[in-house]
């Protein structure tokens, strides 16, 4: 019996009882729809985290001065004074996995413009910093190597600071006072919003690190070095190489702890994404329980159908259908039922996730392979739950079946 004939017979049998077919499919439709929806919401969330990671910067590796404990007293992080510009230069020259690098110092400052004042963070960095963070200016321009060398009184200013000091005024080209020193605002940073760790990235000033060292903090060491690895895969080896280099430069004995901390923020964000993925998996598996229920529905209705069509099975056997032919007929009926349900379920899932997107404003994303998996899985459900009824039909005794009323 050729495939098309089998398929046609299956379609006709299903078309004969449209209501029943639709209700049976409903289980699969809801199951597949629910799974697709959950996956779409989960993937959307995870995609958002990925977006934030990318937003964080370009394969960032962050080296900060370590915490020190002197005589049992913890002095807080970034308390060591051993991280230097020399370290930064050494990394730039000796670790080829690092493509971009910026020395950094940080502090808190009072800024004043006219009668407005604001307390904010200041970051002293090199010209590459903005590039590493993928953080352009929306107005004005960046500073370059020249301003770093001259320790110029120039600064870039974040949106939050602008709102709290300049208000509606255009800050570019204006002079504001930082720790009572006049600074020329040369650019306004593009808004970056909240960092994945929850603080306001726009509440900051950025200026050459030399300026912060000499004019604000009065120090000659660094608080951090911000690096960009050549690729995502290079982050881990770059971290190891930098750690080794710094230990050597800081003359640390093997039994001594690092006096610096190397870490990659993408690790954290990745862990967050991973947690989200596990959550999605959990929800999807709960949703797939309804697929199971749908499968049982198919089995139920197939058993009814076999009983109803006992005579037909007898006739088919009398005219030469083998057990395999009969089994194939009912199996393909279950398969068509579940595949149609699966396809409708995908459509429901897509529509549902679009509704979630537009009504709840949750980002959703349907991975194409999820659709394929959903359809294949529903086909699997059909075969699994159709097998027993089909076998039952195939094992009918033709004499009994022909006599069945």
């Amino acid at each position: 019996m050729d495939f098309m004939a089998v398929l046609r017979v299956a379609m006709r049998a299903l078309a004969r009882n449209k209501m029943r077919t639709a209700l049976t499919m409903l289980g699969i439709i809801i199951g597949v729809g629910a799974v697709i929806c959950t996956v779409a919401i989960g993937e959307g969330a995870s995609n958002q985290v990925q977006e934030q990671i990318r937003n964080l910067g370009d394969n960032i590796v962050f080296i900060s001065a370590g915490s020190v404990t002197q005589g049992g007293v913890h002095m807080g992080s970034q308390a060591t004074k051993t991280l230097t510009v020399g370290d930064a230069e050494a990394i730039r020259q000796q670790v080829p996995l690092v493509s971009k690098l910026s020395p950094g110092v940080g502090s808190q400052v009072q800024v004043v413009y006219k009668n407005q004042n604001w307390y904010t963070r200041v970051r002293g960095v090199g010209p590459d910093y903005m590039d590493i963070r993928r953080w352009p200016v929306s107005e004005g321009s960046l500073f370059g190597q020249h301003e770093v060398a001259a320790a110029s009184n120039v600064c870039l200013i974040g949106k939050t600071v602008v709102e709290n000091t300049f208000g509606d005024e255009d800050p570019v080209g204006k002079t504001m006072r930082v720790q009572n020193l006049p600074f020329l605002v040369i650019g306004v940073l593009q808004s970056k919003g909240q960092s994945p760790f929850g603080f306001d990235e726009d509440d900051t000033l950025i200026m050459p690190y030399t300026t912060v060292q000499k004019k604000i903090s009065g120090i000659d060491w660094l608080n951090f070095i911000m690096c960009s690895a050549v690729s995502n895969d290079a982050i881990a080896p770059a971290e190891q190489q930098m750690a080794a280099l710094l230990r050597e430069r800081h003359h640390l004995r093997p039994d001594e702890d690092d006096d610096f901390i190397v870490r990659s923020p993408s690790d954290l964000a990745q862990a967050q994404a991973q947690a989200g993925r596990i959550m999605t998996l959990l929800l999807a598996s709960i949703a797939s329980v309804s697929l199971l229920v749908g499968g049982i529905g198919i089995m139920n209705i197939m058993l009814v159908s076999v009983t109803e069509r006992t005579r037909e099975i007898g006739v088919r056997m009398a005219v030469g259908a083998t057990e395999e032919d009969v089994q194939m007929q009912f199996l393909s009926e279950a398969l068509v039922l579940s595949l149609l349900g699966g396809t409708a379920g995908v459509m429901l899932g897509v529509a549902g996730s679009m509704a979630v997107s537009s009504m709840l404003r949750w980002p959703t994303l349907i991975p194409p392979e999820a659709i394929g998996v959903a359809v294949l899985f529903s086909a699997g459900v059909g075969v699994f739950f159709g097998y027993y009824p089909a076998r039952k039909a195939a094992h009918l005794d033709p004499i009994e079946a022909l006599r069945y009323e």
Binding site: V319, T322, L402
Partner: protein, 277 residues
């Protein structure tokens, strides 16, 4: 004594020239119903030759149905041999039996057993579907079979749109479409009025004459049995009488004498549907 009855040579002409289509030798069939055993057949031996038209008679429980099931390869004997065209089919697997039913046996049932809501043409095609015949050829052969039983032009009618006689003719076309060696008809006129019954007999006699088709007809109606050439009567699981029919009725001659009750096929359709239900 019994030998004499059983071995009465029916159709001398056929017997002389050819091997039997059906030869059963001391066949037993026992149904094991747990506590009790039912001996449906207790040693049946019979030979049926090509071109014979045999009426199988007997009361219910006589073993005639069991015999037909065995002859139709729907079941296997508990003991004894069954040779179909010289091939021993008593020990074949279910799959092999299905192939034999498909190619060598045509079934006609009392209740027609057409697939509902399926066109006459597709009903007739059914055996060919299981023989793996390509679609175009299936249609050609099915159309031809429908023409043979006088249903040209009704290919697309569904069983519910046909009269009982027409439905039975579709069933006969289905039985013929694979050119079987034997046609097994189990009470084919049981659901039909007397005139339609004779019409069906006319078709059987025509097929028997023109194509030399071997026909086994199970019936409990003595007048229907008169259209066959030979009667085999079962009782208590054994063959009791096996005789040639004398003064055989010829349906083509009987038909004109019958009052043409209601030959309008269209008007008959509703009756047919009822009869089937």
């Amino acid at each position: 004594m019994r030998e004499e009855l059983v071995e009465s040579k029916p159709d001398t002409e056929a017997a002389a020239t050819s091997a039997p289509v059906i030869r059963v030798e001391n066949v037993h069939k026992t149904y094991d119903l747990g506590e009790i055993q039912v001996h449906a057949l207790r040693g049946v031996s019979l030979a049926i030759f090509p071109g014979e038209f045999v009426a199988i008679m007997g009361a219910s429980g006589s073993g005639k149905s069991t015999f037909m099931n065995l002859a139709g390869c729907l079941d296997r004997p508990t003991r004894g041999r069954y040779l179909l065209e010289g091939q021993d089919v008593s020990q074949l697997t279910k799959k092999e039996l299905a192939a034999i039913r498909n190619r060598r046996i045509g079934f006609v049932f009392q209740g027609f057993n057409l697939l509902p809501r399926t066109s006459a043409l597709e009903n007739v095609e059914l055996p060919l579907v299981y023989s793996g015949i390509p679609h175009r050829q299936r249609v050609e052969r099915s159309m031809e079979a429908l023409r043979t039983v006088g249903l040209a032009g009704r290919e697309e009618h569904h069983p519910a749109q046909l009269s009982g006689g027409q439905q039975q003719r579709v069933a006969i076309a289905r039985a013929l479409v694979n050119n079987p060696s034997i046609l097994l008809a189990d009470e084919p006129t049981g659901n039909l009025d007397s005139r339609t019954s004779v019409e069906i007999m006319e078709i059987f006699q025509r097929l028997n004459e023109e194509r030399n088709l071997t026909i086994l007809l199970v019936t409990h109606e003595a007048d229907i049995a008169q259209y066959a050439k030979r009667t085999v009567t079962f009782r208590d699981g054994k063959v009791r009488h096996d005789v040639l029919i004398e003064g055989r009725l010829i349906a083509a001659q009987v038909l004109p004498t019958l009052a043409s009750v209601d030959e309008d096929d269209e008007a008959d359709a509703s009756d047919g549907a009822e009869a089937q239900a």
